[in-house]
C-alpha cells in the first residue's frame, strides 16, 4: 500500500520530503512557508542546495539529516584552495574522485574550502614514509598532512617545518566538538600533537576500546559439551580441553584448537593479552612500579609464569601447532572462518571480522561474547587500547588558513558524531534505494546499506581512511541512540534507516553489544602503556633487535623448543643489550613530564 502511493500521510510531517522542495529556486518561498521550523534546522539549511544534502528526505521511507549551523564567517569568499596528502585507496560513484565527491561538494558550499590532492599512499610497508620523504626532499609539503607517521613527524619537528597552531586553536576550536571531545582520559589525545606545551598538530583519535578484547566463544560448542562460559583461567582451560577432546572443529580429525592465537602475544586480533593480564602483566607495555618508576613488563618475573602456562597449553595441543607462523589477520580466515577454534580474545569488531565466514561455513555456528576470565589471584586485566595511535595531522609551516580547517573539522564532527543529526552518508555511495525488482531507484522502498564507506572521502578528521574522529565515544553514542531512542520509536513511525539497523543481522547486533560492553570496561580493566612519546635514542638503535629477541624467546618457550628457564637468560640479555639504558631514558622522560 505504502509503496504504491508516493505521497502518503507519513510525509506530511515537516522533516522529510520537504527538504527537496526547500532546495533550488523555491528556497526563499519555501523558507517563508516553513517559518515554523525549529530555528537550528532553518539555519542549517542556509544556502545549501538540496542535491548536496546527505540523507534521503525525498524518499517516502527516507530520513532527514540535520546539518549543523554553518560556522561563523563561512563560506569564505572568495573560496580558498588547500592542498593535502591522503591515505588511500577509495571507491567513488561514477565521475567522482577525491577532489570532487559528495563530501567536497557539500564542504565547499558550507566552508568555501576546495581541497586539492598533493599525494596519496596505501597501507603497504614503508609506502607512507617513502611518499612523505619525497615531499620533504622536493620541498613541496602540502598545506595539511594527514596521518603523519611518527618518524616523519619527528623529522618535520626537527626541521621546523610544522605550523604551531596553539593560538589559533585556543581562539577558534569548537568548545564542544573539538576541545571537549578531545579532553578524554586526562588529555591523552595530546600525547603527540602537543610538544613542550605547544600544539603542533591535531590528534588522530580512534574509537575508544577499539582493540580491547572480549572473550568470543562458540555457544553451540559450549552447549554440546555441557559447560558454561569460563570465568577463570582454570575454567577456560577446562573448556578448551573439552572442545579439543570432543573434536568440535570443522576441519580434519584432531585439528580442533583450544584457542586461536598468533605469533604476537599482545596484538589486535586473536591476542593472548588477557591471559598475561590475568597475572597483572602486559608484554611490550611500560607500567609504573611501586616506586613510581616505569618498568618494562615484558621482562617482569610474572611473565615466566604465564609463559609456563601457555607452554603447558601448547604441549596439550590447545594452541595450533604452527600458531607462530600466523599473523593476526590470518587467524580470521583459517582458525575462525575455518571453524577450527571456538574461542578467541578479539575486539568487538571481531563480530564482523572472521565470524561471518565462520557462520557461512557452518550455519549452525552460534557465537557469543563474555567478559575475560580472571587469573589465579583474581586479577582481571587486558591491554588498554589507546585511542591515540602513533600518528598526527599537521599543518605546513606558514600555512595561513589553519582557522578555516579547524572550523571545517568542527562542523563535520558535529554532523557525524551527534546521533541526533542522523547522518548516514550519501545516497548513491553509502547506501542505495531499490525497488521491488531490486533495481536502484531513488523512490524505491528497500534500503540497501551495502554501499561503500564514504566517510573515507572526508578530508578529516573526522573521516579519512581508518575512521579517525574527534570523539572516541562517537560509535558508542550512536549505538546507544539506536538502542535507547530508535528502538523505542513505535514501529509504524520508523523510517527505513531505523528498521535497517534495528532489524540488522545477528552478528551486527552482537558487534553493537560487544562495543558497549568493551567501552564500559575500558578504563576499569585496561593495563595502560605509560610510555607515550616518540622512541628514545637507544630504542631507535637497539629497539628492533630487542623486540625480535623478545618475540623469538616467547615463541620458543611456548612451543617447547627452549626450556622455561631460558626466560631468565633472556631478561639478562635484554638488560645488557640496551634494555637498562632504555629504562633509564624512559624514566628520564617519565619523571620529566610529571
Amino acid at each position: 500500500m505504502k509503496s504504491k502511493f508516493p505521497y502518503n500521510t507519513l510525509d506530511l510531517k515537516p522533516s522529510r520530503r520537504d527538504f527537496m522542495r526547500l532546495g533550488g529556486t523555491s528556497l526563499a518561498a519555501a523558507m517563508m512557508m516553513r517559518a515554523g521550523l525549529p530555528p537550528i534546522l532553518a539555519q542549517g539549511m542556509g544556502d545549501i542546495p538540496a542535491e548536496l544534502h546527505p540523507g534521503s528526505p525525498n524518499n517516502p521511507r527516507g530520513w532527514t539529516t540535520t546539518l549543523p549551523p554553518i560556522p561563523e564567517g563561512m563560506p569564505v569568499d572568495p573560496p580558498v584552495t588547500i592542498t593535502g596528502s591522503r591515505r588511500g585507496p577509495w571507491e567513488f560513484a561514477d565521475g567522482d574522485d577525491i577532489e570532487n565527491s559528495n563530501f567536497t561538494r557539500l564542504n565547499a558550499a558550507v566552508t568555501g574550502i576546495n581541497w586539492k590532492l598533493a599525494f596519496t599512499w596505501t597501507d603497504n610497508e614503508g609506502e607512507v614514509l617513502q611518499k612523505y620523504n619525497l615531499a620533504i626532499a622536493s620541498d613541496e609539503l602540502p598545506d595539511f598532512m594527514e596521518t603523519v607517521p611518527l618518524q616523519i613527524y619527528s623529522e618535520l619537528l626537527d626541521n621546523d617545518l610544522i605550523e604551531d597552531i596553539t593560538d589559533v586553536w585556543d581562539e577558534v576550536a569548537h568548545p564542544v566538538w573539538l576541545k571537549e571531545a578531545m579532553g578524554f582520559s586526562d588529555g591523552i589525545a595530546w600525547r603527540l600533537a602537543e610538544v613542550n606545551g605547544r600544539k603542533m598538530g591535531v590528534p588522530y583519535i580512534e574509537q575508544a576500546a577499539q582493540n580491547d578484547k572480549v572473550l568470543w566463544i562458540r555457544q553451540d560448542w559450549l552447549d554440546a559439551v555441557g559447560m558454561s562460559a569460563p570465568t577463570t583461567i582454570d575454567e577456560l582451560h577446562s573448556v578448551m580441553t573439552a572442545f579439543v577432546e570432543a573434536d568440535m572443529g570443522q576441519g580434519g580429525d584432531g585439528t580442533t584448537l583450544g584457542i586461536a592465537a598468533n605469533r604476537q602475544v599482545n596484538t589486535w586480533y586473536c591476542s593472548l593479552d588477557p591471559i598475561f593480564g590475568a597475572w597483572g602483566v602486559m608484554p611490550t607495555f611500560w607500567t609504573p612500579d611501586e616506586n613510581g618508576d616505569l618498568q618494562y613488563d615484558s621482562v617482569r618475573p610474572e611473565i615466566k609464569e604465564v609463559l609456563g602456562t601457555l607452554r603447558q597449553w601448547y604441549s596439550e595441543g590447545l594452541l595450533a601447532p604452527d600458531f607462530f607462523t600466523f599473523a593476526p589477520w590470518q587467524n580470521s580466515g583459517t582458525h575462525i572462518g575455518g571453524n577450527l577454534a571456538g574461542l578467541m580474545y578479539s575486539p568487538a569488531f571481531g563480530a564482523v571480522y572472521g565470524l561471518p565466514d565462520s557462520v557461512a561455513n557452518d550455519p549452525d555456528a552460534r557465537w557469543a561474547f563474555g567478559d575475560i576470565p580472571t587469573g589465579p589471584t583474581g586479577i582481571k586485566k587486558k591491554a588498554w587500547s589507546n585511542p591515540v595511535p602513533d600518528t598526527v595531522y599537521v599543518f605546513r609551516k606558514g600555512f595561513e588558513h589553519v582557522d578555516l580547517v579547524l572550523k571545517q573539522m568542527a562542523w563535520w564532527a558535529e554532523l557525524l558524531q551527534n546521533p541526533k543529526n542522523r547522518y548516514h552518508g550519501f545516497e548513491g555511495t553509502a547506501y542505495f534505494w531499490r525497488d521491488d525488482d531490486g533495481e536502484i531507484d531513488p523512490m524505491g522502498s528497500t534500503l540497501d546499506l551495502n554501499g561503500y564507506d564514504d566517510t573515507k572521502h572526508i578530508w578529516g578528521p573526522p573521516g579519512t581512511n581508518g575512521g579517525s574522529r574527534t570523539d572516541p565515544f562517537y560509535e558508542t553514542n550512536w549505538i546507544k541512540e539506536r538502542r535507547n531512542v530508535w528502538a523505542n520509536t513505535p514501529e509504524d513511525e520508523r523510517d527505513a534507516l531505523m528498521e535497517a539497523f534495528l532489524g540488522g543481522d545477528p552478528l551486527s547486533v552482537l558487534w553493537d553489544e560487544a562495543n558497549v560492553f568493551a567501552v564500559d570496561h575500558w578504563e576499569a580493566d585496561g593495563i595502560k602503556n605509560h610510555f607515550l612519546t616518540v622512541p628514545t635514542r637507544t630504542m631507535e638503535r637497539a629497539g628492533a633487535s630487542l623486540d625480535g629477541l623478545e618475540a623469538e624467546t616467547y615463541i620458543n618457550i611456548i612451543n617447547g623448543q627452549e626450556p622455561l628457564d631460558r626466560f631468565d637468560a633472556f631478561v639478562e640479555e635484554w638488560r645488557s643489550g640496551g634494555g637498562d639504558r632504555i629504562t633509564d631514558e624512559v624514566n628520564e622522560w617519565w619523571h620529566g613530564q610529571m
Binding site: N211, G338, Y353
Partner: protein, 293 residues
C-alpha cells in the same frame, strides 16, 4: 647422433623425465590452487577449505574484479605501459646497439660511448634526484614517468651489441659493396638475423614493465594512477593495525582470499600468454652456413 639403447640408460631417462615432470607439477600447483580459490565462494576460500578444486563454484569473484574500477584502471595503465614501453625499449636498444657493435675504426668515439653507457648502468642518480628530475620534467602522474626513465635498458643494449658483433662481417661487407646504407644493413641484415635475441630482449622488457611496481609507487602521487602491480600491492598487503586503524569494510576485503585469487590470476595470465607467441623466434643456428670460410 647415436643413442645408447641399454636398459640402464633407458631406465635412467624415464626416471629423469618422471623426476623433472614432478618438479614441473610442483611449480604449477600453487597456480592451480590460486585458480581454484579464485573460483570458490568467499567463505570456504577464506576458511582454508579449498585445495585444488573449487568449492561453491562461482564466477562472482571475477565479476567483481572486472567490475572494480580501481582494478580495471590499473590494468589498462599496465597494458598501455607494456605496449608503449616495450616498443620504445626495443627501438632504442637496436638503434643504440648497432653503432656500438662497430669497431672503433668505423665508429670513432665508440669506446667513450661504451664507457658512458656502462657508467650509467653501474651508477644511478639515486631515488630522490631521479624523483626531482621526473617531477621538474612534469612527468609525475603520467605514463611517461613509467617509460622514459628506463627507456634505454643498458644491459639489453650490451647483450644486443654482442649479438650484432657475432653476425659475420662478410654479410655486411657484401651489402655495403652493393651500395646499401647503414639503415638498410641494419634493417635487412642485422635485424632478421637477430630475431632470437630481439625476441628474448622483448620478453625481458615486457615482463619487466608488467611486473614493475616501485616506479609506479614513487612517480604516481595519486593512487588512482597506479599501474597494476603497484595497485596489487595495496590488495595483498601485510596489515599492521598497531600503527593506525582500518575501516572494518576494508578489513573484510583484505581477508577475502577468493577475490585476491581472482586478482592474481587476472594479473598473471596476460603475461603468460605472451610466451607462446614469442617462442617461435627462439630458434638458434640461423646463421649457420651463411658464410663459407
Amino acid at each position: 647422433m647415436i643413442r645408447d639403447r641399454t636398459w640402464f640408460s633407458r631406465l635412467f631417462d624415464s626416471l629423469n623425465y618422471l623426476f623433472l615432470a614432478g618438479f614441473a607439477i610442483l611449480c604449477l600447483l600453487p597456480l592451480v590452487h590460486i585458480f581454484a580459490v579464485s573460483l570458490s565462494g568467499r567463505a570456504p576460500a577464506t576458511g582454508g577449505f579449498v585445495s585444488f578444486w573449487p568449492i561453491d563454484f562461482t564466477l562472482e569473484n571475477y565479476e567483481q574484479v572486472m567490475g572494480s574500477r580501481n582494478f580495471l584502471r590499473s590494468f589498462v595503465i599496465s597494458v598501455l605501459r607494456v605496449l608503449t614501453g616495450t616498443s620504445l625499449n626495443m627501438l632504442l636498444v637496436i638503434l643504440t646497439a648497432y653503432p656500438l657493435s662497430k669497431t672503433p675504426r668505423v665508429f670513432k668515439g665508440r669506446t667513450i660511448c661504451i664507457w658512458f653507457f656502462v657508467f650509467a648502468m653501474l651508477f644511478d642518480g639515486g631515488l630522490i634526484p631521479s624523483f626531482l628530475v621526473v617531477r621538474s620534467l612534469g612527468l609525475l602522474n603520467t605514463l611517461g614517468a613509467l617509460i622514459l626513465p628506463n627507456a634505454v635498458p643498458i644491459f639489453s643494449v650490451i647483450l644486443m651489441m654482442n649479438f650484432f658483433r657475432d653476425v659475420p662481417k662478410e654479410l655486411e661487407e657484401s651489402a655495403l659493396i652493393d651500395g646499401a646504407s647503414h639503415w638498410r644493413v641494419l634493417w635487412h641484415i642485422y635485424i632478421p638475423l637477430s630475431l632470437p635475441a630481439i625476441a628474448t630482449l622483448t620478453l625481458f622488457s615486457a615482463v619487466n614493465h608488467w611486473n614493475a611496481w616501485f616506479d609506479g609507487l614513487i612517480y604516481m602521487t595519486d593512487t588512482a594512477n597506479y599501474p597494476m602491480q603497484t595497485f596489487l600491492r595495496t590488495v595483498i598487503v601485510t596489515l599492521d593495525l598497531t600503527q593506525v586503524g582500518i575501516n572494518p569494510q576494508d578489513l573484510q576485503r583484505l581477508s577475502d582470499r577468493a577475490i585476491r585469487g581472482a586478482q592474481i590470476i587476472v594479473a598473471t595470465v596476460p603475461i603468460l600468454v605472451v610466451y607462446p607467441f614469442l617462442q617461435r623466434y627462439f630458434i638458434s643456428g640461423i646463421k649457420l652456413g651463411a658464410v663459407k670460410e
